[in-house]
């Protein structure tokens, strides 16, 4: 099953309360995915020359301040860890690739959940309603966000196997469905230098998008490539630094609803998820067509 939600703010008021809305939407999708939950929130851009990472530690007593100090010694600055439950966000005075390489070399026990300049990913096993509390989601402000509630079919229920998946800077993917050619595709993508942390099918789709975009495709072109190269069922929601996109496979048996007002654009597996947003009753609502890429992006200031 699984539940997907996405919210794109079109007003400062919605940006201000993004976490509140996201938490409410995720709560509505609790029963579609009781195994685990996760969100990607786009917020607080790192300063120019710096990058932002979200890290997960399996150790509940992780000393994030010590890690921040080490990163400060290596790259300068005094990073302050933003800790939420088992995750911490760190702004590092170097580019994301350098920071990831440092972590691989010095702290291989930590998992990089996201890297880039604006993205933050939080995900954990357990009921989505509990996740919302555990990670204090309602505090979060931001421009846009995606969320997922998981009912696992293709791989184990672990923190790493939860959605969203990110294999590119500021890029993430949530997925309702299952892919059947992910093993072969993962092998091919590994040869192209794309790295994977799990045996999960969705991570392969995220890696596929990262690879296509690295090779020069736009987000839209990369998603259109999915129609050719991915075999299986999917409703995808993809987050980028500027916005989000939605795609359904040609059979379109996995649900999706889109809605828009002057204040926001939202997507959900079901209307229930969107009905909790302010002004939802008067929103324009429609079902995305199969094989059509829908994109919303911030207009550059």
């Amino acid at each position: 099953m699984c539940g997907i939600v996405g919210l794109f703010a079109k007003s400062p008021e919605v940006e201000e309360r993004l976490g509140v809305h996201l938490a409410a939407m995720l709560g509505q999708m609790n029963d579609r995915g009781p195994d685990s939950a996760g969100v990607a929130v786009y917020r607080d851009p790192a300063p120019s020359g710096a990058s932002k990472l979200t890290l997960f530690s399996p150790d509940p007593h992780e000393d994030w301040a010590a890690l921040a100090a080490e990163l400060g010694e290596s790259f300068g600055g005094t990073p302050e860890p933003g800790v939420r439950s088992s995750h911490a966000v760190l702004v590092v005075e170097t580019d994301a690739a350098e920071a990831e390489a440092w972590l691989r070399a010095n702290r291989p026990d930590l998992r990089v959940m996201s890297a880039g300049s604006v993205i933050e990913i939080y995900k954990e096993t357990g009921l989505p309603r509990d996740f919302v509390e555990q990670f204090s989601l309602t505090d979060l402000q931001g421009t846009h966000a995606l969320g997922h509630t998981r009912m696992a079919t293709e791989s184990r229920v672990t923190t790493e196997g939860s959605h969203p998946f990110s294999t590119g800077f500021d890029l993430c993917l949530v997925h309702n469905g299952s892919l059947s050619n992910h093993n072969r595709l993962r092998r091919n993508l590994r040869r192209e230098g794309i790295e994977f942390q799990t045996e999960n099918d969705t991570e392969v789709a995220a890696g596929y998008l990262a690879w296509r975009m690295r090779e020069g495709a736009t987000l839209e072109q990369a998603l259109e490539g999915c129609l050719e190269d991915l075999d299986g069922f999917y409703t995808f929601a993809v987050g980028t630094a500027d916005g989000f996109a939605v795609l359904r496979d040609p059979i379109a048996c996995k649900p999706a609803v889109l809605a828009e007002t002057d204040e926001w654009v939202a997507m959900g597996s079901e209307w229930r998820a969107i009905s909790v947003l302010p002004g939802a009753a008067d929103a324009t609502m429609w079902e995305p067509q199969p094989e059509i890429v829908y994109v919303w992006e911030k207009t550059p200031v």
Binding site: C253, P255, R272, E287, P290
Partner: protein, 237 residues
Amino acid sequence: MAVAAREQAAVELVDLEQTSLRDLNQRLHDLARAPGPSAWRIVNPSGAHALACGIDAEVEVEIDGHVGYYCAGMNKRATVRVHGNAGTGLAENMMSGLVVVDGNASQSAGATGRGGLLVVGGDAAARCGISMKGIDIVVGGSVGHMSAFMAQTGCLVVCGDAGEALGDSIYEARLYIGGSVASLGADCVEKELRDEHAAQLSALLDAAGIDADPSGFRRYGSARQLYNFRIDNAGAY
């Protein structure tokens, strides 16, 4: 305000923010065994699933807002009107009565329906009327792919366009399409629209309260080549 209050006095008003879905559905089911209000108005449905499912009584139920999956499923005798959009499986396996949705319906609207009339004012998504068995469905807008798949009997009227593989493996249902057809499914062919069909189409549009010109429609149905398995047809499966 006084007028509104007077109207409401005759109508059983149920607010789903105050009443649980299960309680409401139980009260609607009880109407099959004991008399109760004949007119109902449901507010704040907020996309709830299985709303007004399994009614077996001559009642009128109006729902203000969008509904989730399986709304008015298995409906018998009742009239259910949704002033909003509907999720997957609207009026699934309807037996009789009338179900009207003002907005759009998601996939599998009217699936396996055995009787009655389903009206969707806007578009219906994929698999509309899949395996229909006697229900009549009138769609004011367009339908998605694989609509009327294995449709056995009844009529599907689409004022707009039909998606890919319309009427795949169809039996004896009649399909009337006002717009374009992306492609026909296996064993579905265009057929002559004779006077009796024009009369049936007009009657269905009238019953649905949809103002569309019947003269522009085309009729599709079964070529009857796939009723029994023949090895010559293996490529069509």
